[in-house]
């Protein structure tokens, strides 16, 4: 396994951010994760440092051996500095918990950043597959195949009645979380989003923000996922989440149509002002950037900003995050410096000659 060059990674975006795939105007990504544990070690909360080291070594070898064709790169998360860890969180390759915990732990990532395998997170192994757009079935086929290959080399903790055993009983059974990330700005503007969430809760689906549990719904991005992991098969869980997505897409589209019809000037104004601020600001916070980029993303989808591409806007969401800015500028920056660097980065990317015909005036 070669060592990933995180600095090179910062300049490009992962496969899942391409803005391609079915329904990618509204569905940003489809993600599935499986929680697995080795049968002959305690779960992480009761594991000694030696246990953790052995678990890491065992799983690291297994993952390396079975995934040769995927060209996985392995990162020792314990050895990374804070910016690198945060960088992986921003790209959704590791969880915040994985970044912030301690002791032996790592992650294997494939070159396209579609697959990541976290070792010693809450469970010994967390396999994740992420596809661009609304593509759950393909993501399930891919992760199932990876799981099968690993299983031939590993004894997973499994109970004949309860299924795959996990550190937290909320994950027992399939150990599977199916989630779809949606961009729902029109439902937010028309104030229907709360109603949507309540309906989802009633059918046992969870709603989270961009970076999972407890995170704020930044930039009008929402993750919809299954709450239940026991008593339903993996295919049923894919269907449970998958069935609701077309309904949400339809509501969001209708809300956009409504806005375009009933208040076209206001909508166009909102998008244009967002572009105006982002392409001229001299210092700007992460929150304001996310908020305004959300309007721009919707504007691109509605054809109000023909010069911008969806993939390009998706990239701006990621590249203007704190760790990405610091990786790109190659130096550590405090909040005030980051705000300046962010504004500079946005001006450079939104005022390019090939976008609007006039190069930045400075």
């Amino acid at each position: 396994m070669s060592r990933v060059n995180l600095d090179n990674m910062a300049e490009k975006s992962g496969e899942w951010l391409k803005g391609e795939g079915p329904e990618s105007d509204i569905v940003v990504s489809s993600r599935i994760r499986l929680a697995r544990n080795l049968t002959d070690y305690p779960f992480i909360s009761k594991a000694t440092e030696l246990d953790r080291e052995e678990i890491e070594k065992t799983l690291r070898n297994t993952v390396t051996d079975v995934s040769k064709q995927d060209l996985l790169d392995y990162l020792d998360v314990n050895e990374l500095d804070d910016i690198d860890r945060q960088f992986l969180v921003e790209r959704q390759l590791i969880s915040r918990e994985h970044a912030e915990s301690e002791g032996a732990r790592g992650v294997a990532i494939d070159a396209g950043e579609r697959t990541s395998l976290m070792i010693n997170e809450e469970d010994h192994l967390r396999i994740q597959v992420m596809h661009s757009g609304f593509d759950l079935v393909a993501a399930w086929e891919r992760i199932n195949e990876i799981d099968d290959r690993l299983e031939q080399r590993t004894a997973y903790a499994f109970h004949s009645r309860l299924g795959y055993l996990t550190a937290c009983p909320t994950n027992v059974g399939t150990g599977m979380r199916v989630s779809v990330m949606l961009h729902l700005p029109a439902l937010v503007i028309t104030r229907q989003i709360e109603k949507v969430f309540r309906s989802l809760h009633k059918i046992s689906l969870a709603v989270r923000g961009l970076y999972g549990e407890g995170s704020q719904a930044m930039g009008d991005f929402y993750q919809i996922s299954n709450q239940i992991t026991l008593g339903k098969s993996e295919e049923e869980l894919v269907t449970q989440v998958g069935d609701v997505v077309p309904v949400l897409i339809d509501y969001e589209r209708r809300a956009r149509e409504f806005l375009q019809k009933e208040s076209h000037e206001n909508l166009h104004d909102k998008v244009s002002r967002a572009f105006g601020i982002l392409s001229t600001a001299q210092t700007i916070s992460s929150e304001e950037t996310m908020h305004l980029l959300s309007s721009i993303r919707m504007g691109v989808e509605l054809g109000l900003l023909p010069e911008l591409g969806m993939g390009q806007v998706n990239e701006l969401f990621i590249q203007t995050q704190p760790a990405h800015l610091q990786k790109i500028s190659g130096t550590e920056l405090d909040t005030a410096d980051r705000n300046v660097a962010r504004a500079t980065f946005l001006r450079r990317h939104l005022n390019r000659e090939d976008i609007n015909g006039s190069p930045e005036a400075n």
Partner: protein, 170 residues
């Protein structure tokens, strides 16, 4: 458009998703707020693990039962039920067997089911007694070392090696 409940202009256009066919509502700001708040109160979100655990402890048991249960420990990893209740995380795979009596109601509250119906490993990976034994021995070894009982630790290490050899010989 006029609010369907009063004379004011409808500024909120709500689509109700819950009841089968989508239902359109057109309301003024005041009536929209009222409508949304009433619906908020009806909503009982799926119970989180913490509330399920807390709830479990308030019903059906005397304080004595509870204290006894809290002190019960898994012979493999040493976690007590009290620790589990506080952290919401188990210590080892054997806890699912060790605390089976308490677990079913908890799983029903979280998942509405108590039986797995999905994928099963192709190779038999049912947690064998020997593998549980290995977890227990490793823990006792660590305890022996930290209390400077090196002779005991080395005996345990020999036991562990023997089991490891048997397992890998299969």
């Amino acid at each position: 458009m006029q609010c369907q409940n009063c004379e004011k202009t409808a500024t909120f256009h709500i689509t109700e998703l819950a009841a089968g066919k989508p239902q359109e509502l057109h309301l003024c700001e005041e009536h929209a707020r009222e409508y949304l708040q009433t619906n908020d109160q009806e909503q009982a979100a799926a119970p989180g693990l913490a509330s399920v655990l807390a709830h479990k402890m308030t019903v059906g048991q005397t304080a004595e039962d509870l204290a006894r249960l809290d002190q019960r420990a898994c012979p493999v990893c040493g976690i007590t039920f009290y620790e589990f209740r506080n952290q919401g995380r188990f210590g080892c795979p054997h806890d699912y067997t060790c605390f089976a009596g308490e677990l079913d109601q908890l799983l029903l509250n979280i998942h509405g089911e108590t039986e797995h119906v999905g994928k099963c490993p192709q190779r038999s990976a049912t947690a064998s007694e020997r593998q549980m034994e290995m977890i227990r021995i490793r823990r006792e070894m660590k305890e022996a070392v930290s209390s400077e009982q090196y002779e005991k630790a080395s005996e345990l290490r020999d036991q562990l090696r023997q089991i490891e050899d048997e397992v890998s010989g299969e």
